[in-house]
């Protein structure tokens, strides 16, 4: 029996050069079964290059990439059956209905007769696309097309799904529906690699993240680990009841926090500061505020998000 912690997707020192230009430099990552990897990076970071190597559309200059142990560049025909790939461009055909579109790809993957029709029904149900089966593909909204795209990638029941910007251009409702579909697929044991620019969206579905800039891996691991590593300082927010107490509270906070930059928002009656202090030290700060007669409405940690982590990596990469 396969161990669920065994890496399904693995890259080892993956490098891709186009002449002098290095699109991908020594990338080593792994994704386990049922995990969702969020692949993050600015435009031109090397995300699509990595994906193209994984799906067998491009050969690495050096290093290896494998899916369930099958080498991506040496055994491209096997990889095509193991991976379902949805590029950022939909690839629709004119005058073709959704069911015909799926039927065409089903036939290409060698599904025949009743088995193909049954599988089309299944994938349309998984992606909630059954009601649009008779509509022309080009007439669908972007969100609907993305669902048909995922249905297409599922036709041959692949182990790994690689989705390039699936949430791009979707409205909030379609984004929520997309998120639910992806989480459902992961729960069914599919391994997903998802790239996106919408980082809060990724943070809601990913178990693992890989942040890549300039072709180099800057951070990789479980989402909370990466967040801890990249954002060691926690942000705290103190909201006061009286606006007149702002100055006094600022002075009281300066004593334990030292040189820490405290941002003050009079409109919100709020003071914000980053800190690496322990819980006890923070409890002492709160006690000192209260004992000095300042009425505190809220004293809370503001959670860092993936955007903060990404910005931290991106600014680090730029300065280096």
């Amino acid at each position: 029996m396969t161990n669920t912690s065994d890496p399904v997707v693995q890259t080892q020192n993956l490098t891709k050069r186009y002449g002098e230009f290095c699109a991908l430099d020594d990338l080593t990552i792994h994704v386990s079964r049922g995990e969702i990897l969020g692949f993050i990076g600015p435009n031109g970071a090397g995300k699509t290059t990595t994906i193209k190597i994984l799906v067998g559309l491009s050969r690495p200059t050096s290093g290896t990439a494998s899916i369930t142990g099958v080498n991506c560049s040496e055994n491209a025909s096997k990889i095509k059956r193991l991976v379902g790939y949805m590029p950022d461009k939909f690839g629709s055909y004119d005058n073709m209905r959704v069911r015909e579109y799926l039927d065409f790809f089903g036939a290409i993957f060698g599904l025949n007769g009743k088995a193909r029709q049954k599988r089309i029904d299944e994938v349309m149900e998984i992606t909630d696309a059954t009601y649009m089966q008779d509509k022309f593909v080009e007439s669908l909204s972007h969100g609907m097309q993305q669902r048909v795209g995922i249905a297409r990638t599922l036709l041959h029941d692949p182990e790994v799904l690689i989705l390039d910007e699936p949430a791009n251009g979707l409205d909030p409702k379609a984004r929520i529906e997309m998120r639910e579909i992806l989480l459902r697929l992961a729960a069914e044991g599919k391994t997903l690699i998802v790239t996106s620019h919408i980082l809060p969206e990724l943070a809601r579905i990913c178990d693992t993240v890989a942040i890549i800039t300039g072709g180099r891996l800057r951070a990789f691991g479980q989402l909370d680990e990466v967040m801890r590593d990249l954002c060691p300082l926690r942000n705290y927010e103190v909201q006061l009841v009286e606006i007149d107490d702002m100055e006094k509270a600022n002075q009281l906070l300066q004593q334990p926090l030292g040189d820490t930059q405290i941002s003050v928002s009079k409109q919100e009656r709020t003071l914000r500061f980053p800190t690496a202090d322990t819980e006890q030290a923070l409890a002492g700060i709160l006690q000192s505020l209260v004992s000095n007669g300042i009425q505190v409405a809220q004293f809370r940690e503001v959670a860092s998000d993936l955007e903060d982590a990404f910005l931290s990596v991106a600014s680090g990469a730029k300065s280096s």
Partner: protein, 550 residues
């Protein structure tokens, strides 16, 4: 004044910076110069009253006409449809620029470009004048006016069709069809009905005046088919017809350039099963277009089925209509062949029949073939096909066969005319078989060349325009050389060049006047087959390369 029109400036400057424009201008300049050089007298003296200059002027006039027909419609045909697909037409219509300014900007920029294109042939035309025997007022001047009128007319037609089309390649296809109809089919009423009198005759003459052929024949003094069918219009009538058609199309296009009129709902598709109307639809269409299609059968190439289904006229109910239309055309041709063979002789009627079939194949074939790979790349479908297990060979076979079957269907539907000829003159059996083989070779050439071009293009419009260009050079260009037979091209050279044209082989088989002296079969078939094999080899290599990892 027009220089201040932003659309005019952008279009003209943008196109002048394009290498395609430079290539077109150079091609016209080189071709016209070469034609003059080849026909330039080598003797020390030349009689001014002789036909020497006319021998240079005539092929040059026909070559320039062909160049204008080939090159001018391509730009306006893709202009408005490309803007609409990119969303920039909406921006223009929502700006203070008026629809008339947009239209005039596009029309005049194209006419200006055409003017540049025509002007590069002026040195060659001046050489004709220098030889004597050709006059500025009777020949060169009218020719330049007719060429300019053609450019205006075809630009107006291209823009009108472009605004109504949903894709660039469809627009190109319909524009070239319209140009063909204006130039050749407009002579149909006179050909079919003969020299008529009264109102009907007047209308027939004016429809015929839409064609530049009668104007050209008047200018060059060639007594050809035009005079034999009773065509009495000249270049003045052509100018009148051009003004009428350009003004009419201009008004319609400007009125249509409205954001509200352009806001069309996308067809969402409708499938009705089990309704009362289903039976009626089955009778009306033979195949119910609203019925959900069954899956692709295991024995069929899925790529081929997909190609048929994604074509607007590829669905079964459309194919039935297409075949019906071809059958009607075929019946008309059969009637024409039957009456014509008896009264005019086989040679006379077979020529137009062959030319009509080749024109139909040339019209439909390149647009279908050029779509095969380029459209797939353009839509992003190729990237998806690459990550499926289907082999390059299966993709290629599916795609090429989808065009080949369609072309074969069209060809078969237009063949009964030959059967009538064979029936009337049984001795013609062998010749008719050779004609059919030549037409089959023509079909293969059209399919293979346009598919090959498609594999090297990233946009369907470029692939379609290039395919039309190459095939017109082969099929019409070789006929231009034939027109200049005698001087400077000797019979051997003309015969060799005609071997590249299976239509010429078919004409020579039917002993069409002007082609009797050539013996083109079976050499022409071997040349055609070699071109097909070469194209297929290049296409296979290219497709194989395109399916490999980068």
């Amino acid at each position: 004044m027009f220089w201040h029109n932003p659309i005019f400036r952008r279009e003209l400057l943008g196109r002048l910076r394009s290498w395609k424009t430079l290539a077109a201008i150079l091609a016209v300049a080189i071709a016209s110069s070469v034609l003059v050089l080849l026909r330039w007298p080598t003797d020390g003296t030349i009689a001014i009253v002789s036909q020497g200059a006319m021998l240079v002027f005539r092929p040059l006039a026909f070559a320039l006409t062909l160049a204008v027909m080939m090159l001018v419609p391509a730009f306006p045909a893709t202009s408005l449809v490309a803007e609409r697909r990119k969303g920039t037409l909406g921006l223009l219509l929502n700006s203070p620029t008026t629809p008339l300014q947009i239209y005039l900007g596009k029309l005049l920029s194209n006419v200006s470009l055409s003017l540049i294109l025509i002007s590069v042939s002026v040195p060659a035309l001046c050489a004709c004048l220098a030889m004597g025997g050709v006059s500025l007022i009777d020949h060169v001047g009218p020719l330049l006016i007719v060429l300019l009128a053609m450019a205006i007319q075809y630009s107006a037609v291209g823009l009108w069709i472009s605004l109504r089309s949903s894709s660039s390649d469809a627009s190109l296809r319909w524009t070239y069809a319209a140009v063909l109809a204006l130039a050749v089919l407009s002579m149909g009423p006179l050909v079919l009905a003969g020299n008529l009198s009264g109102v009907v005759g007047f209308i027939a003459q004016w429809i015929t005046a839409l064609s530049p052929m009668s104007a050209l024949q008047q200018i060059t003094g060639v007594q050809g088919a035009a005079s034999t069918i009773g065509m009495s219009t000249g270049w003045i009538e052509f100018l009148g017809a051009t003004v009428l058609i350009t003004a009419g199309l201009g008004v319609v296009t400007v009125r249509k350039l409205d954001p509200i009129l352009l806001d069309r709902a996308r067809p969402t598709g409708k499938v009705q099963t089990g309704s009362n109307q289903s039976g009626f639809r089955k009778i009306a269409y033979l195949v119910d277009p609203n019925k959900r299609k069954s899956g692709i059968p295991i024995w069929l190439n899925p790529v081929m089925v997909k190609e048929f289904r994604t074509r607007k006229f590829g669905r079964l109910h459309w194919l039935i209509r297409l075949v019906s239309l071809c059958a009607i055309i075929s019946l008309m041709l059969t009637a024409l062949a039957a009456t014509g063979t008896v009264s005019w002789g086989v040679e006379r009627i077979a020529g137009p029949l062959v030319l009509m079939q080749v024109a139909l194949l040339l019209l439909v074939g390149p647009s279908l073939g050029a779509n095969l790979i380029a459209a797939e790349v353009e839509s992003g479908g190729w990237q998806i096909l690459r990550v499926t297990p289907i082999s390059a060979n299966r993709i290629l076979v599916g795609k090429v066969m989808s065009v080949f079957w369609t072309m074969l269907l069209i060809l078969l539907a237009t063949l009964p005319g030959y059967a009538v000829m064979s029936y009337i003159q049984p001795a013609l059996g062998g010749q008719v078989s050779n004609v059919i083989v030549s037409l089959l070779v023509a079909v293969c050439m059209v399919v293979c060349i346009s598919s090959c071009v498609s594999a090297f293009s990233k946009s369907t419009s470029a692939a379609t325009a290039t395919s039309y260009g190459i095939l017109l050079i082969i099929f019409a260009g070789s006929l231009l050389v034939w027109l200049a037979r005698g001087k400077p091209f000797g019979p051997v050279l003309v015969e060799r060049i005609l071997m590249f044209n299976p239509a010429a082989a078919a004409l020579s088989e039917m002993k069409t006047p002007g082609f009797e002296q050539y013996s083109l079969t079976p050499a022409s078939w071997w040349v055609g087959c070699s071109i097909c094999l070469l194209s297929i080899a290049i296409l296979s290599l290219r497709v194989w390369r395109m399916t490999r990892p980068d």
